[in-house]
Amino acid sequence: MSFLQINQSIPDLKPDVLFNIGGFPVTNTMTLTWLIVGIIIVFGIVLRKSLQLEAKSRLQLMMEVVIEAMIGMLDQVTQSTKKSKKMLPIIGSVFLFFVLTNVITLLPGFTSIMVNGAPLFRVPTTDLNMTLALAVLMIGLTQVVSMKSNGVLNHIGEYIQVKKVYDGFRKSIGEGFIAIINFAMGFLNIIGEFAKVISLSLRLFGNMFAGEVLMVVMMSFSAFVAPSILMVQTLLVGLLQAMVFSILSAVYLNLSFNNN
């Protein structure tokens, strides 16, 4: 029964380097990232040119439905349409990017184009560098937004609560000691910010990479019919994780707006 089985090696954690530009390695996840970014930009420009006040084209109607749905989703997080419209450009584009990257694996043969013994394209979210970069970007954005809306000193005061200890001791000694405990908790908040970055990036990476590994295992078990079930699961998980990443970053952004 060996004709039913396809033996592949489990994909490596780090992507293959295709070529170097001035000592800067270009990997196969990067090529697909730039391709998808290009697709989104071209799509945006084409849509922008044919934009009408009373939509007649199917493309515009479809995108209007998508954007309405995204605003509805953000409204549940922020509880105000004004805020969600403010957040939509960054959260929405991250969401669309991840949906495209996670779904593009299902195109047959797309990740099998070989160049110099390495595949030309590999799904960007199966590379920890990619998800880590976006998680750092999103959490960095929450820091900047918090500094802008609360002031730089107040923002740093959230983590190193010297002022609150001073205020506490001026009121009474008991409140001063509570403030000292809060002072220690403030340092935990710093660790909490790093934990946010790690959990955001590892969640997306782990889900997508596990999908690839499961596919390889399933192929070595039975290469017909059975992987199709896993492909449907990959599609669902890809959409779900894109949603989870964008909603969680919306939640963090919303918190950084609110805490004044």
């Binding site: 590892l202 990476f205 779900l240």
Partner: protein, 73 residues
């Protein structure tokens, strides 16, 4: 009987994946509670469902950590 480093690696992998048990329990509890809430008043199911998905993804995090660790070992 003597165990080589390879055997120790596989044992470590199996121990790391054991922590998925907690994640599975948490997710089952969460989804059960969400279904209970939907059963009590079905008209809010549209609002409960996205929250449930978000909670399930958060509960899944520790399992994903375990998986990544098991893959790295």
């Amino acid at each position: 009987m003597e165990l080589g480093p390879e055997a120790a690696r596989y044992i470590a992998k199996s121990i790391a994946t054991l922590s998925m048990l907690g994640s599975a329990l948490g997710e089952g509890y969460l989804i059960g509670k969400a279904l209970e809430a939907v059963g009590r008043n079905p008209e809010v199911s549209g609002r409960i469902f996205p929250m449930m998905i978000l909670g399930a993804a958060l509960a899944e995090t520790s399992a994903i950590y375990a998986l990544v660790i098991a893959l790295i070992i």
